[in-house]
Symmetry: C5
Subunit: 87 residues, 5 copies
Amino acid sequence: MIVGKVVGSVVATRKNENLTGNKFLIVEPYKNMAGNGRIVAIDNVGAGIGENVLVATGSAARIGCNAKGSPIDAAIVGIIDDAIGLE
Amino acid sequence: MIVGKVVGSVVATRKNENLTGNKFLIVEPYKNMAGNGRIVAIDNVGAGIGENVLVATGSAARIGCNAKGSPIDAAIVGIIDDAIGLE
Amino acid sequence: MIVGKVVGSVVATRKNENLTGNKFLIVEPYKNMAGNGRIVAIDNVGAGIGENVLVATGSAARIGCNAKGSPIDAAIVGIIDDAIGLE
Amino acid sequence: MIVGKVVGSVVATRKNENLTGNKFLIVEPYKNMAGNGRIVAIDNVGAGIGENVLVATGSAARIGCNAKGSPIDAAIVGIIDDAIGLE
Amino acid sequence: MIVGKVVGSVVATRKNENLTGNKFLIVEPYKNMAGNGRIVAIDNVGAGIGENVLVATGSAARIGCNAKGSPIDAAIVGIIDDAIGLE
């Protein structure tokens, strides 16, 4: 997983039918965290713009968020309350 | 997922038989988005050159697009209508 | 897998329910090891800050740590005692 | 998937038994395509040195090429005949 | 897959129980090969320090090496005897 900040969202009316009902948020990886740019993640925890979140990628996002048959490769799975050593 | 722009397409007559019937589009990741270059994605939503699209990668592309047994690792799964914070 | 050093931890009270009970540690990949930044991994072996650990990523983390249905993409699966050629 | 050029091959007599019978080709990702170096892919379509090919990676290579139980993470799944926007 | 050279090994006494019995080797990707640093791979073919090996990553390593339930994301699956175009 990585920690990132929610910096935006995207809307896609024409999309794969298994994606219906999801919110797509743009996440910027926190400085020092792995990742070479922003990603689009579905929101699994009610995150909002400006929040620091935990993002899972790959099959973990799909299978861990009850979306086994959906084309989802990234999901926000936690909202960061506190951290040691993030800086 | 990432947001990218469709910039081209490729044709492969000799190919794995499970790929038959797919359109292969070249997608350039949007500036600031993750990714270290263009990728080839199958088209799952009727995308065209010049459009901004949502691309899923890994097993999500294969399983989420009803192509469980095909050698597909990237798929265009949405067409971007609107966005906040993409710039 | 990669070798990394535990440099911190994160707390997320609001999170995917399948993540409950896990400890989320921040791991910095060892110099020369693959990886382009820190990652957040669940702790599967009782690791602590400052320890050098073995980290598995992708479906290996989820499936290999009895967390098949959880959105986990990285896990600390060993504590390094000794190494040849790590430097 | 990415487009790459076949630039060589490797031979491994001592190998995992599930790899027996495969041809291992070295593929250089096409300029502008994703990837940070050459990869070794099994040949699923009869590709030869110098040809531009379509390469699938991850579980797609293994499952999409009828090699479900083999340690294969990249496969040449098409030979490029024509392309728009590849340059 | 990638070609790499075995440059070391790590020992972890405290580890996930499904890892017991494996040898963990440090592999440095061959110049020009994909990869952004060294990785730790289990040894599936009896490789030794200094040898050039074929490494599979992701679910291929786990499933292709009869370690379906283990947190393994990289495995040495062949020893390179000969190569064309590796330089």
